[in-house]
Symmetry: C2
Subunit: 125 residues, 2 copies
DNA sequence: TCAGGTACTTACCTCCTGGTAAGTACGGTG
DNA sequence: CACCGTACTTACCAGGAGGTAAGTACCTGA
């Protein structure tokens, strides 16, 4: 369909983990769900400025397939779906933490712009 | 040129780290250099089965630019170039370790094939 | 003299990732 | 009764990551 593939054979653990986190928004989704515990589709969309509905759904589906997120559907009048991290999703997020710190250090080192949580960019170049 | 871009603005640390490791062979190069300390171009090529010369050089150049690997050229009769990890490369590799463990756990969980270090594949599919 | 090994460079091409935009089904609200 | 908000689905398209293959310059060994 879209991003579906792989799931091994893998060269090493990093390879296997990357197969599951690679995707423009996956790590952000993980982060968002980790921080808020449980989020609805529209909340996630608002929390990830710039994500398209297509990519968000696609990533969520893949992460659900990969056992990282849990999807709870409420058959209500305005449809309601809640996403949350599974145990594996949470542990992946924890495994990602040192990498995040390394990245934060790197941002400090090279003095790169950090795009604010909302739209506007800090520096013009 | 080829892969050059980004280097911020970044959404978070993970984003910044990913910008530097994303690429089919980057993490493997990191791993290879970490394990052997210092490697020549042809040694790396042989150590990463399936990599094309173009991608290997491209990734090495980018990682050098990003301050992850050190490139030492020996102006000798048959040209000789040695690659090794810088301090930042080593720390990135360390930050990648928990992710690698998570991936290894995942491989065990889902029972995915693990492609052997040399050419042949274990299971036909 | 010519193949072979070193470390690349260059050109070309394909497929995958992600973006845009529209459509769907449902009921509540003005 | 038309429109909004929910959570999607679908079709189409552009750009870039990565693959293949060939070329370069240099010296060594058969």
């Amino acid at each position: 369909m879209a991003t579906r593939a792989r799931r091994g054979p893998y060269i090493c653990g990093i390879d296997a983990a990357m197969d599951v986190v690679s995707g423009k928004w996956k790590s952000l989704i993980l982060w968002e769900l980790h921080h808020h515990g449980t989020r609805r589709f529209a909340e996630l969309r608002r929390g990830l400025p710039g994500v398209s509905e297509k990519m968000l759904i696609q990533h969520l589906r893949e992460m659900e397939e990969d056992g990282l997120v849990h999807r709870e559907v409420y058959r209500e009048v305005p449809p309601k779906v809640e996403y949350s991290l599974t145990e594996h999703g949470a542990s992946l997020n924890a495994a990602l933490a040192p990498l995040g710190e390394w990245g934060a250090d790197r941002i400090r080192r090279i003095g790169a712009d950090r795009v604010p949580v909302n739209g506007a960019v800090t520096a013009p170049r």
